[in-house]
Point group: C2
Chain length 361, copies 2
């Protein structure tokens, strides 16, 4: 048994111990072949099977309709910030962005470089403590797409519904919330997610795109960023990140063993509810987000006295609770409680928080 | 001891067993922290140290001058085919490409999309069996850069010298030859390499770029592809492929333990010389490449009777010699003998080839 702590990192995030144990056991000799999975040719039937199984399990978990392609790419959500306008909008065409925090604004800034990206609604008025209701959105008539960030990893603000955008494709950065619960993929034109929260190690990006959106790319789109090129080549126009795809595949298998996304949703709902309930009861900790917009995955909180932040983090670490520091842009604390964080780990966090609050009084 | 075979895959290629063993031992608990290295925040001082050490070792191994930046990127050499013209040429500016095979032509085709990329010399006349001598190159007066592919992974054609391009930056795709021997980096403007041959797993791309070339990017360059952006952010404008960087770092350490690149060069020179000598002596095997242009890393060869290819591959596999099939575009066989392939492994390959040739007579 390896020594393992509770790791609340926002990403690269904790992975299930069972997944790491399996990877460890077969790291030098995969399936008895005498080579590591990372030493397999991506053109081999063995690696193609790894890829196909990963895609099939992801499709089953999310119920991805047949008219959507699953792409295993590189470059993170940030490269998709460029790829999305390049692939889906013509130069000068309007694209609507919903501003709910730092990540949606990063997507917007890059979008503006390739099309007439604009803010159709902003959480600015609420100090980024809630998602602006759809009734306040000022959508364009003929937008190339509407872009949302369903969960803001830094702010801890989350959509609790899927907006209705009619014929305009809905595009969503699901990096920090994909696979945390069931999802109606058919409501989206395109979903993208960096792997390093709920999917696997960093260095892999999953894109799920509706087939009718594959052929809109601008001339200047780098070939590797073209969704059509990647779809036609089964994500192997060039060598894909094979080790990361293999590890993601192990995570998908693990999720099926846990009972799939309905089971994960129940666990994740309980985890978040327990932590928010404790914070709300406490007069020492605070979370500023409006209840209906609270993230299940990233829970920022502050201490009644900021001077105690350093001590809180040190003592947490001594108790085996790692990476609770909030993002450098907002300060305070943040607990990221993705799929690999167990209910017991959340219990240990609450136990520590409670003990700490009592000690410092 | 894990069961390990000799893996002559062109990439993703064999990695040193010692590197995989170290990664395996600490996969769940890195440095006693109770987390995997792939679960570390890329913003943590611990991961920054992994990155810094990897860069320092790479700089030491290659003797990289201080006015060059080392970037750890994603997307493979193929994404660099776009990034290079986007970063180094203005639209319409001429860039000279030396055509020595499939990979240089792929680079050229993408180059043409962003600048006036042209062929300044081609191995076409020799049937791609030799690098065209510099005396035959028709370089442009004011090219943005001259692009070469010092080793053609598929054709097995290699430069045995570094061309002199004066004030015009020399750009080289060193994917399949970097770290196989010492290199005078100062002769190049930019070097790039997909990791999956001599560096580490796929999903990591190393770029070594001279500082004066950082600020020429075209307006349409995606932010993540901008060398300036990546250089200013220490390759962490967004989450880098942390697991791949860690594994590359272990390979760099292993190379230092082997005695560095001079020691590797001696081993690699002997490995290639032995295999070519055997092929040339044999009247059953053939390598068509002109002696001075023969690759040290990728050695294609044909059998006297193509009908025996399938049997050769099957029996090789039964003897623990994997992935000897030539690239689908050229057929025949290919042995890729990167750094992780030992002299003993080359000896075993020759032993098998000799036994096979005698059997089928």
């Amino acid at each position: 048994m390896s020594h393992r702590v509770d790791n609340f990192c926002s990403g690269p995030a904790a992975l299930p111990t069972a997944v790491l144990e399996k990877a460890q056991a077969e790291l030098l000799d995969w399936q008895g072949m005498g080579v590591s999975v990372m030493e397999l040719s991506h053109r081999s039937q063995e690696f193609q099977a790894v890829c196909d199984t990963a895609e099939k399990n992801l499709r089953d978990l999310l119920g991805i309709p047949v008219n959507y392609r699953v792409l295993f790419l590189q470059g993170g959500a940030t490269l998709q910030f460029s790829a999305i306008p390049l692939n889906l909008a013509s130069a000068g065409q309007v694209a609507d962005y919903i501003d709910t925090g730092i990540w949606s604004r990063k997507a917007l800034a890059e979008g503006k470089r390739y099309c007439a990206a604009r803010v159709a609604a902003s959480a600015d008025a609420s100090g980024y403590t809630s998602v602006p209701p759809e009734s306040q959105w000022q959508l364009s008539d003929k937008a190339a797409y509407v872009h949302i960030t369903p969960n803001e990893t830094i702010g801890g603000v989350e959509f609790d519904w899927i907006p209705e955008t009619g014929d305009v494709p809905l595009v969503a950065d699901l990096s920090s919330t994909i696979l945390s619960r069931p999802l109606d993929v058919s409501r989206f034109g395109l979903i993208y997610a960096g792997a390093q929260k709920n999917i696997g190690p960093s260095g892999l990006t999953v894109v799920i795109v509706r087939e009718d959106l594959l052929d809109r790319a601008q001339e200047v789109t780098p070939t590797l960023l073209s969704y059509r090129t990647q779809a036609d080549n089964g994500s192997m126009y060039n060598t894909p990140p094979t080790l990361a795809i293999y590890l993601a595949g192990l995570v998908f298998e693990w999720l099926r063993e846990q009972g799939g996304l309905s089971a994960m949703a129940e666990i994740n709902r309980r985890k978040a509810a327990r932590l928010y309930a404790y914070i709300d009861e406490s007069d020492f900790y605070n979370n500023p987000i409006e209840v209906s917009s609270r993230s299940w995955m990233n829970i920022p909180f502050t201490l009644a006295d900021d001077q105690l932040n350093g001590r809180f983090l040190n003592e947490a670490e001594e108790s085996g609770l790692l990476n609770l520091q909030g993002h450098r842009s907002v300060g305070g604390m943040r607990a990221s409680i993705y799929n690999a964080i167990s209910e017991d780990a959340v219990g240990r966090l609450i136990g520590f928080m409670d003990e700490f609050a009592r000690q410092v009084r």
